[in-house]
């Protein structure tokens, strides 16, 4: 066994041990397992939310984009900051509602707000369709990182299996507490490793940051600015906006809002998370450093740039640390995805199908779903074809379709109807699926439009279709539901009072 592998194995063992210790002293009801008993303070919620910033996508894809495409990669740094500015106002409202109604999953939010189980099932379906490919992506990334960092002594498939089995065990036993504890270890590693190599590599190979960028600009003119066509400013802005809207719509982050013990947690995090997000900058620096040091990686191989330049530069111990950091960037989001998907299936698909089922059964079923979902993800990660790639590309656009129905439900009185929300989400999701599978862009839809319009992210079209259908169906159905709501309010006075609080 080489040194790098020994270091990776050591951190793997520490992560599992931490996750298992996290359970101590807690009875595992569904609320405890999935939401940590709604008792997390600012630091634990920070750890969970920082998971969004640092997944294997950021680690490999962030450096890969900087290496392969240059300036367009910067969009990854933008959308988070915008989402955090919204979070200051949005998350406390969501949290308060979730606490009062004891919501467990994101789909629960829709069920309660729109008083529609069917809408909950639909949202559950969209969630799982976006979550499973995301988990597959984490496992694939884990396989690549461990195999590269161990100098090929561990095959990717072995690493994927090991990672998935560890996830299954600690997620079933410790739930979201396990995620939060391993996230603490992950953040220390990332801060040390990603920031460290991002600072070191440009100095080592170019003698400074200005020198590095000057040499890149000389070798590839225009690489450090957005091009006039394709990834133009219009593309950049529309992609940033769409990603910012979708940011908290990922079911695992939406549910991480529920774990907080008070709403002050979110306002504190809104000021810390943008700063923490700057660590992405150092991943970019690594990707840029690799441009002239390890040239020739094209297509999806660009994602290997961080690992390749590290292999060319560092010895086995450092590579082991990089591999361990990469492993943790897969495990933490992976565990949150697993918990979310399992909770959603038990709570929003199984529970409505079996009336009168006990709390305990739902809780047991949620944990029983974990190995099943993990196994599906392993199989897809090891032999998934183009279908899974398509789902991955769709993921962000899929969850963004939930945004209109969430935001328009936050007012004191409900103006939009469940039928409207249902139809809007279906229309939006169908548009996303059609557009992604057929490769449609605004340039093919509107060949006569100016360039700036052609470059807009086509996800905007899906969102507009969604909102339009949402509004139209709401107009068509609101009269009926308004009279029904009035009747319900008259018979149950407490509900309306609570709603307007």
């Amino acid at each position: 066994m080489n040194v790098a592998l020994a270091i990776i194995a050591f951190f793997f063992a520490v992560a599992i041990a931490l996750a298992l210790l996290a359970r101590r002293g807690h009875e595992m009801s569904l609320e405890q397992w999935s939401l940590g008993g709604r008792g997390f303070g600012a630091i634990f919620v920070f750890l969970l939310m920082a998971g969004e910033i640092y997944t294997t996508f950021t680690f490999l894809g962030g450096s890969g984009w900087a290496y392969g495409r240059g300036a367009p990669a910067l969009y990854i740094l933008c959308y988070g900051a915008i989402a955090y500015c919204m979070s200051y106002f949005l998350l406390p409202v969501i949290w308060r509602y979730a606490r009062d109604r004891r919501l467990v999953s994101q789909a629960d939010f829709f069920v309660e707000k729109y008083e529609s189980r069917a809408l909950g099932v639909l949202v559950a379906g969209v969630s799982v369709a976006a979550l499973v490919p995301y988990l597959v992506l984490q496992l694939k990334g884990l396989g690549i990182i461990v195999s590269e960092a161990s100098f090929g002594s561990v095959r990717p498939s072995v690493a994927v299996w090991a990672g998935a089995i560890a996830l299954m065990i600690y997620v079933v036993i410790s739930g979201v507490r396990g995620s939060a504890w391993t996230a603490a270890l992950k953040d220390v590693m990332i801060l040390g490793v990603a920031v460290g190599i991002g600072i070191y590599l440009p100095l080592h190979y170019y003698g400074g940051y200005g020198e590095m960028f000057a040499r890149i600009e000389a070798a590839k003119p225009g690489f450090l600015t957005l091009p006039d066509h394709g990834s133009s400013p219009a593309w950049f802005i529309s992609t940033v906006l769409l990603s910012a809207l979708g940011f908290y719509m990922w079911p695992q982050y939406f549910a991480s809002v529920y774990t907080a013990k008070n709403e002050d947690v979110f306002r504190k995090n809104a000021m810390v998370l943008p700063l923490y997000q700057l660590v992405v900058l150092f991943v970019f620096l690594t990707g840029f450093a690799a441009v002239l040091v390890v040239p020739g990686l094209t297509g999806s191989d660009a994602d290997l740039s961080l690992l390749r330049i590290s292999r060319n530069t560092f010895g086995a111990p450092m590579l082991g640390l990089i591999g361990a950091a990469g492993l943790l960037t897969a495990l933490v989001p992976g565990s949150m995805i697993l918990i979310s998907a399992a909770t959603i299936i038990a709570q929003n698909v199984y529970r409505p199908l079996v009336p009168g089922v006990t709390e305990r059964r739902v809780s047991v079923l949620a944990r029983a779903m974990v190995p099943i979902i993990a196994l599906v993800a392993v199989v897809l990660a090891l032999r998934g074809g183009s279908a899974i790639v398509n789902l991955l590309l769709m993921g962000y656009n899929l969850v963004t379709q939930l945004f209109p129905a969430v935001v328009l439900s936050l007012g004191r009185r409900r103006v939009m109807t469940a039928a409207g929300a249902f139809a809007g989400i279906v229309a939006g999701v169908a548009t996303v699926a059609y557009v992604s599978l057929s490769g449609t862009t605004l340039a093919t839809l509107l060949p006569w439009a100016p360039d700036a319009v052609k470059d807009l992210n086509v996800g905007l079209v899906a969102l507009m279709v969604n909102v339009a259908v949402f509004a139209l169906v709401t107009l068509a159905t609101s009269k009926r539901s308004a009279s029904r709501q009035a009747a319900a309010a008259a018979s149950v006075p407490f509900t309306s009072a609570e709603h307007s609080r």
């Binding site: 500015c85 200051y88 600009e217 943008p274 700057l278």
Partner: protein
Amino acid sequence: MANSVAPFRLRRYHWIAIVPPVAMIAGVPFANRVHTLVLGLPFLLLWIVGCVVLAAACMALLYALDHRATTEAGARQ
């Protein structure tokens, strides 16, 4: 939370929150026209990093203002 703290509500200074997103987004087409390095960094990168730091600063300012406003309002009650 302590009883002397008033509930959160929207106030006029909350408009501060819209400054970083607007600066970031509206600034991109202009920052992208600068092709020289500024402080050794591509200007677009510098602009975006600046806006991210501004976002953190604005959120900290809001937090401080809200903290004062809710405690004062709570004390008056």
